[in-house]
Amino acid sequence: MAEQEYDVIVVGSGAGGGMATYQLANAGLKVALIEAGDYYDPAADEQRTQLRNPWESPRRGASTRRRPFGDYNSCIGGWDIDGEPYTNKGETDFRWWRGRMLGGRTNHWGRISLRFGPLDFKRHDSDGLGDNWPIGYEDVKPYYDKVDKMIGVFGSNEGLPNDPDGFFLPAPKPRLHELYFIDGAKKSNVPVYPSRLSILTKRINDERGVCFYCRQCSRACSIHADFSAGTVLVMPALKGGRVDLYTNSMVREVTTNSEGVATGVSYIDKETGQETTMKGRTIVLAASACSSARILLNSKSAQHENGLGNNSDHVGRYLHDSTGASRAAFIPELMDREIYNEDGVGGMHVYTPWWLENEKLDFTRGYHLEIGGGMTMPSYGFGFAANQYNEYIGERVGGYGNQLRDDIKKFYGSRLSIACRGESVPQFSNRCEIDPTVVDEWGIPVLRFDYQWSEHEINQAKHMQDTMEEILENAGGTLLGSKPGSDRQYGLAKPGEIIHEVGTTRMGNNPATSVTNQFGQLHDAKNVFVADAGTFVSQADKNPTWTIMALAWRQADYIVDQFKQQNL
């Protein structure tokens, strides 16, 4: 197998790699898809966690190191993976999430599928910080359109200036706690719209099912009614017969020849520990922003002394994650609820996009609001602090005996929470680089992170806290916990915790200040491409997946065209 030369080697099977594989193979190219984790299909009963009851898990769904989002979460991986360390420099506390399975992190994500808007590609024009993208919304729009139609996303056309309309499936009706949120937001003059999630509320083709409202997209859907790259892109691509899938294969580096042109990759078969080389005419790295940067930095040769694509010293730089903060409230009016099935889809039915674009604030760039609550399935942690809200209704907290049953029912579904996700300002100094002294279990040098939030993110978090407090109170809520102050950076999540890392191989027209061109093609090696969020110049306050896929599709068209012109 290894002697065969592929037209394209794709590294990573998540959103970017899945889309690259699907498009390139369907265009007739012979593709090798390399995935560091195992094969995964949520339709296979032995891998299914959807519709399991909590008592099937001895820990009742509690999180583990291998599944940080709970025992039933479909994503295998996390911030702490056996044999795959990373390090932090100085005071940095960066948390690096990795998925290790077919479909990568698309098995984990919240299906929030937001197009970047016209302003998001040109943020430097708004605030003078960072850089503009070399492309604009009009370049990506045709691909967003195609992604909408092919993959499916529900939402609504609102004609908003920086949250573009799309080809949406119809939205699910709001749940009760979401109606409380809507009313609270209205009092605060904050708009609310149907959320935009890639979940099929309506049939999109004959291969995939239609959502049956179990609220468990995080467990992966056995009828493929939500998007994950494995089920929606890779599996269909495999059917075409032009893709060879290599699982449990960890890429060490991109190999190059004496002209500095890439010849393939070397990878470790994790089951045998054996290192092998694979030949390919073109390499598409889609291992996730930091992993792709790591592969490039580890691909050193006489022609690429600083690592492949790194003549500019920009590989790993401008790393940035979304900002995040959250708050919750107890809603007394939601006590003693009538119980019915309100699972709904696996995520919020309503959300608030950034609504203060033109306001004068002490930070730049915005954030959106995500809503949580409802009568969710009991899982590990349910019943903890069973009657803590008694404090707010003048009753005693604690006790024992059958009265606790009444307390549980009294407060079930009475919590409303908000999570804010915002845009950070990309910084040259925030980066991942190779740690000179530490290697992983295959001897591959690991990443070291160097990352600090700036005053923009900290001030933004303060604004988030004020917003959440006001809306929750206007919704009739009693705020829970204490409001984090400056000593806790206003509850700002650690970098990496929101799992939206981008920017490490950013695109640009100037090879001295960027790693790739507008198609994700390395300035320094024309047959090497990056198809993950590493190419993002700035991240918007939008979850990156939809843009990763639009750009990967655009890139695939370019690669096919370059093949036709015999440039690759």
């Binding site: 966690t49 609504s156 939205a171 009706k173 509320t201 049939r203 409202y213 939601l334 099935n341 349910f382």
Partner: protein, 237 residues
């Protein structure tokens, strides 16, 4: 009879003070705790091989001493007694669950072990015997003093922390079983078609759906018709 059943029978049987401990020890030894070691037969919920191996190791391990387990069982039974149509903690597999969680999350081990020791020490001081060997009214007297978080008495704080942890584990352990689902009235986790909050619930809460909003929502009678759009992004099917 497995260890869980043994504990339950011991706890439910009317017994004189002091009998529990010695009787428990011999019965638990006799049962050899087989069911606590083996993996449950229906142990298949999408685990990887590595996860299966590491869980098997946890099942094979014993953390608590028998005295500790018995104390945990007595406390679980006080927190959610079995004299209820939907059963109680012991019917729902506590304290097996507490032991599993203590093995799964090491950070629970010391608070639980130390908490039990604190409880015995306090019980010895007040009633001259370990917690499980005092009378039921005496046990409840102790629980009354450590079950409420507003109790400021400094001496009792370790006991209050411990009782809170036991209550958390007992409640979560119970409500994540079929008995707990029934007690709560939970009706989700099953395929269905969500079509909004029931009308009577909306009325009760003084909420309503705006027409403008509903126009954006799915018409569930057409959910199975393949989506089609016009060139202006309007859904037309």
């Amino acid at each position: 009879m497995n260890r869980r059943e043994t504990l339950k029978s011991l706890l439910l049987a009317p017994m004189a003070t002091g009998v529990i401990a010695s009787s428990a020890t011999s019965k638990i030894n006799a049962a050899q705790a087989r069911t606590w070691r083996a993996l449950p037969k229906d142990y298949s919920y999408g685990r990887t091989e590595i996860e299966k191996e590491s869980d098997a190791e946890l099942f094979a391990e014993d953390y608590f001493r028998e005295h500790e387990l018995l104390t945990i069982a007595v406390l679980c039974d006080i927190i959610l007694p079995s004299d209820h149509p939907n059963g109680g903690a012991l019917d729902a597999g506590l304290p097996d669950f507490v032991e599993f969680m203590a093995k799964d999350r090491e950070r629970y081990q010391l608070p639980l072990r130390g908490g039990i020791a604190w409880l015995d020490s306090y019980s010895l001081e007040r009633f001259s015997a370990n917690f499980i060997n005092i009378s039921e009214p005496e046990r409840l007297m102790i629980c009354d003093s450590i079950a409420y978080v507003d109790n400021q008495e400094a001496e009792l704080q370790p006991g209050i922390s411990f009782f809170s942890l036991m209550r958390n584990l007992t409640m979560t352990g119970y409500y994540t079983t079929e008995l707990g689902f029934k007690d709560l009235g939970y009706v989700g986790n099953t395929p269905n078609v969500w079509d909004g909050v029931p009308e009577n619930v909306l009325t009760k809460h003084g909420k309503s759906y705006e027409d403008e909003w509903l126009a954006k929502c799915v018409d569930q009678s057409k959910r199975d018709i393949t989506a089609q759009w016009d060139d202006d992004m309007n859904l037309i099917s």
